[in-house]
Symmetry: D3
Subunit: 329 residues, 6 copies
């Protein structure tokens, strides 16, 4: 049959290994993998975590994992400034964590189990989780910890907020993940570095808590004076001496609200997109950064041209560029 009709958009056919790839041709989707292939090695495992019922304000961040995937066709695998091609990393998109509509605790449990299970199955892979709201970070790090119980974990957090609220108030929400981890003993306060705080978006009791537990933070003004890149490097250097494994968490509300209209908690005076891209690239380079997440991006509130979804996807790709340069150097 040779009618002038396009091949259907999501065909399962062997892709020629072409010179030019789009991101969606590069990343391997789980249901295209044969059972035998599941044991293959992948540099990166990608996990969607579509939970935002746990968000303090009504949020559609649960829709980001799929919006993220749909945006891939707008990006090539080739980073022109670094002159590297991401196809040299192998990435398996393992799908989304199973969620329950009304049992938030069960959702959280699933997230932990998924992270723990994947860490066991793919111990040498980098694991990138795409949220969802920031509550998922507590469970992801707990899962990571459970799978590597003898190791210490440190956190590099790019965020406008400390996320140190008490779970006693509202349960485990997008305002509590770092505190949950500290209180559970999974991460020590001194092994957390937050970059991006500024303005009037953190209550003094939370700042006091941060100081009491030795948590490190660099405000955006100070980071800009020192240089975003240098600030990230210094934080990583500090952590590398004390922990076995560094977890990067990117709360997209670290961006200025003009750059991230699809993140309701973003604020005036926040990071510019190019600053955030530089920061995650640096983190990607560091050998102890072993897992990451991107959270709090609500595509239902984005602009018609998807300003914020595209920024979120670029954050992932800029990190991958660093990771590639780390692994293949």
């Amino acid at each position: 049959m040779s009618l002038p009709i396009d091949a259907p958009p999501f065909s399962w056919r062997k892709k020629e290994w072409e010179k030019d790839l789009k991101v969606h041709d590069w990343i391997t989707s789980y249901h295209h993998v044969q059972e035998s292939d599941e044991k293959a090695f992948f540099d990166v495992i990608l996990l969607g975590v579509p939970l935002s019922r746990s968000s303090i304000s009504a949020s559609g961040a649960s829709e980001f994992p799929n919006a993220f995937r749909r945006s891939w066709e707008g990006f090539t695998t080739y980073n022109l400034e670094e002159e590297v091609d991401l196809r040299n990393l192998s990435v398996l998109d393992i799908g989304n964590v199973k969620m329950h509509v009304t049992d938030v605790a069960l959702c959280h449990q699933h997230i932990k189990e998924a992270m723990q299970g994947l860490s066991a199955l793919y111990p040498d892979s980098f694991i990138a989780s795409i949220g969802g709201d920031h509550s998922i970070t507590a469970m992801l790090v707990k899962g990571l910890k459970a799978a590597n119980s003898k190791e210490t974990i440190g956190i590099l957090q790019l965020d406008t907020h400390l996320d140190l609220r008490d779970t006693k108030t509202d349960g485990p929400t997008n305002g509590t993940p770092i505190r949950q981890l500290i209180e559970a003993g999974a991460v020590k306060g001194e092994n957390v570095h937050n970059i991006g705080l500024h303005g009037f978006f953190n209550a003094p009791s939370l700042v006091e808590y941060a100081r009491d537990c030795g948590l490190n933070y660099t405000t955006l003004k100070k980071a800009r004076m020192k240089g975003i890149k240098e600030t990230v490097q210094d934080a990583l250097k500090d952590l590398e001496n004390r922990v076995d494994r560094i977890y990067l968490t990117v709360d997209m509300d670290v961006l200025d609200i003009a750059c991230a209209p699809g993140v309701p908690a973003s604020t005036p005076g926040g990071m510019r997109t190019e600053e955030l891209l530089e920061a995650v690239f640096e983190a990607g380079l560091h050998p102890k950064v072993k897992a990451m997440d991107i959270v709090c991006l609500d595509p239902l509130k984005d602009t018609a041209v998807q300003t914020t979804v595209k920024a979120g996807t670029h954050v992932f790709l800029s990190f991958m560029t660093g990771l590639l340069k780390r692994i293949k150097r």
Copy 2:
């Protein structure tokens, strides 16, 4: 001090009993009530139920109770077509049910307790609940039942959907309330009347379930042929012979999507606004209708001129008009 400065917008001052009232001057807010007044009689108790975490899709319906209150200043108390003034009803706005950020079951429990408690405190008042998503209806009716355990309850449901999904799938969501009530024995299937179904928005297993339990439904096409008013009257007549108390639940997705852009589940081919206003007015007239709710309106998705919030508020006021004519006739 006699500066040319307005009185502040929400002052607690005795309102003169003026000829012209706006809705926000008419409805008494709980925190303006003295303790001694709390035992006073009110024709209507108004309860906000800001829960939408239990919604299957990401929803901001939790924001409707407050958006509803803010919209009051755009409405007078005088219904020009019926020539009655709602100020002749006394309405106490009791505030919002207390919610928890991550424990949905606790939220649901609170809703039931609030309804039960209010029914006991104000046994002769009409109780109007403003959602929130449709999952709240199950808890509100259960609360009503608990407070009036010897009575039978019937339901008049204006909806594009049957809401008969199984809670085993996703827990108690906006898709399950009617089934929850039937399975809990709180309401018999034959004592439910649904008006407004049409198109391709209900799965056959749910229709089969409806038939098996004797639930009554009238599709929109049939309701239009008979007359919306007559259809409501007939449903109420059927119920009045079999139940002690009728509960009205208005899922705003019964409206055509052109009339209700702020209800993501609304559909093409649904009710026009004037048809819904007529339907709830009829329900307001009937002496056995003792409680109601309005659900599934997400003000975060509404237009700039608040097309849908205004429609939701008008639904409440049109019902109140019927209630006034019932009580004061």
Copy 3:
């Protein structure tokens, strides 16, 4: 020069009298008229009245006259249902009334003078004014009265509101025009017919005022039962026996808010567009209707596809269709 370059969009060239005309080719713009032509007869004089500073809420209705003109290229002159071509009417667009930025009283004075002057210059022409907010109606009718001081004037008002507020409260606003005219003796209350009132949008003191001065109104529910067309015909029949001249004022907020998102004061449960088009067509047919206005349409709040501006322009053209059938029959 024969480059493949279009003629510029607003050229002043003699239009061939072609078979097919767009509205912007048909209506003669004042600055294309020679001085000698100014004394020619025109069936219709079109006047823009870009005032909305007098609106109670912040409004961009001042932008409608120009948005109205820009929308003309989307309409032909041929009414297919009535099988008439509006080119058989001659229309002169005389431009906009001169406004002042901060002196609202001067703006109002200018509106009256413009109407009075045009009525004197073109005594046998129909005058159509495009607002602007509803405050302009008071000045337009006063100008009409001043130019025809021995005649009595009646008003047919299509509106969701009575517009009978007291000027003592806020001065002459979009809420006061009909009362201003009654109090100034320009129009008797009994010579006003309002069609379209409904719901909770008029305070009882205003309804009482209406009754006290004998003003006639037909609610939307009653108009629909009798038929919109028949309701308009009856109102005109009542007026034709008592007045010399009928003025039609169309407040676009008479439309349902789903049909008119660019009119912030439009309401749920209002007229559908096709009902309004039918109403103004009927008014156009009547020989005593000598002037009209269209008010309160704010194009800054309209949708991307200009739902409301297009509705406003169609109201004008449907009226013109009636007028043509009246004049040329």
Copy 4:
């Protein structure tokens, strides 16, 4: 592996034949079909035609075929009002016609060839094409004619416009399809029935052309007086005596602009959605209606809740309901 991770969204797995189906589970996608299955019989062949470069105004109607497919998950296969399940029809989604970016004539040629080829391959199937702008109709009907050269074809057109412009002006655009067909001798003017014209949206030269070639049209006002359903039935009765095959073309601009904000050419005073759904259902019932298209819906201009895309999909499903009742009765 039993991690709590969802199955991926687009897996190629055998669907259980479940009680409840969504539309996207029901329609068979071409790339899930084995070569041997291609010769199987399908009741309906679905063809995407993503062309809108041929539109007079800048248009994104090319995006509708895919937006249409994505919207399927919001609809079940069960029509509650007619009590039939569309799964009893077999539908093959054959994909999209192959387009070229700059060679519009080649695109048009491809459309004709696709229709001709499909008509030959599946002579007993109903073919539904999803546009794209209205220019595609000329090529689709020509393809149908080429495959059935001895048969006569009639057209039932639901449209606000005649689409009879001369191709000499701008080439074959969304304004010319019906004229192209008449001039090419593919369809006689007297065998075209247009329902839905109204207002000021058709130039007199086109109306004259329509009359000269005997084309039948019923204005919306007249259709409403007679009944939409009866008007469609009468048109089909007239055609069934004179032609072998009837082609239905639905230009979504027939809808009122309040119902179809995603169709820039829709107009104030047009059809309401429920009227259009009724019209296409009637057309689906008639045995001679053998192919259809839905055109001119631009999802890039739609609202956030996809008012218009959902209406377009419902039009398809309502037609399918009629078709099912026709075939299986």
Copy 5:
């Protein structure tokens, strides 16, 4: 009564002096103040000035004072970068200046009287006015002058425009305030410093006027080369030698249009939000800055996430941070 119901949102109850405060808990609202308390000292008096009828273009800036107040709940009182807590300032929100709908001159008169009266009542307080359009600045400064008739006043203006138009053209509008003050002798031209001019947004006659009267201005390009902070410091140093009192006026159109979509007069190439925050912080530090306003922000045109309203509120809070450091150092 111990139902699980939240306290109502606007209760008048004594707030516990908690560790964590939101801005709306910190600022004292006038109607919560006892008569005896009115004589208490406040560091800052906050005055809403809801006037935008005087704006040359249709504007909803009148809605900003209330949008500003509603946004407070999104900000804490604690400035993390400066490590100060604004609760150490006492702020009284005195409400809004009383406005008239059609008498703009009376509105202006009220603004002056309010400022004069407040300056007399609270001679040692800082007065912050929230507009409204820029016309209010002329009246606010005149009121300040009237209350302190022997003092000289200088102005620091952050603006994309000079605002030196002649009142003869359009009356006292948002284009005229600085000229009004110079012509009235309230402020000398040489005592005005404008920072932020750039591009094509000021007519040469106005620049000439500025030069003729000795007004100082620094273009954005020059300010960036010197440093925004240093530019503000130099302007203040120049003023402090010549005037007794400095008035800061922030026209939000100084921001780049990408940062301030809710300010229609903002322009491409303007200040970034972080630059403006730095500028006002510097101004807050200076002991002679005694009053300020924020003008021309139209919340009706803002994005769904309120990009611009949040920026406006942050401007106020950043200034307050400087003020606190000034007063309490």
Copy 6:
């Protein structure tokens, strides 16, 4: 006649040579020019090129030339930072190239002919073309080459993309112009300088092609390290030694997507508006830059306050400022 009515907005009257001009008063429109004047000299010829059917994605960039013209009334002719008045340049707006609705090749042919013809008619004028999508650049440069066949041409391209796709794939689209010119021998690869590439938006095959043909590019990161201004100067210095004439092409997608929401192909991490304005100003200064275009701005996707259209117009005016300083120095 001295009625208080404004002069009509588009009158053809001699403008007084006033002190203050808006851009629309300054630029001479072709149809206001007498035949004899057509031979006059103009510094700049402005040509609209409303083609976007050739865009790979559905685009409304065809609407930019007219949106550009309508935006002129928001800009004065006076550049405050450079202290020059653009009125000292004479600019003739020659209108738009004639387009065909379905014959894209004919559209392209017209563009070439228009450029060639204008270059011959006005050999000493600068020609500025306003697109349209980027496919027009190939035809504009070919037209320029045809009119100056003995000269060599170089290109300075501000762009996020290389635009080096092969026309064999999709024909001559917005992805191919630079390659078309190189393959046609109109411009040598080494005589192209691209500034602004970054991120993941160029496929490796295209980068390889660029290298193979010696095309020069500077990524955004490198340009920022060197300085945007210095990067442009260096590129021009390189070109001036090798070519007779430099053509500047500005693809508005070079801007960050937060600055250019109306350019769907703009990306996160792109240029800020002030950087682009600086770049084009530098280009304007250079004596060999003889023609320019601005492309790929789709006003149909812009914000309500026209963020992107205003940026596009400012790009044109900033270039003109450089040109004026070049010519009149």
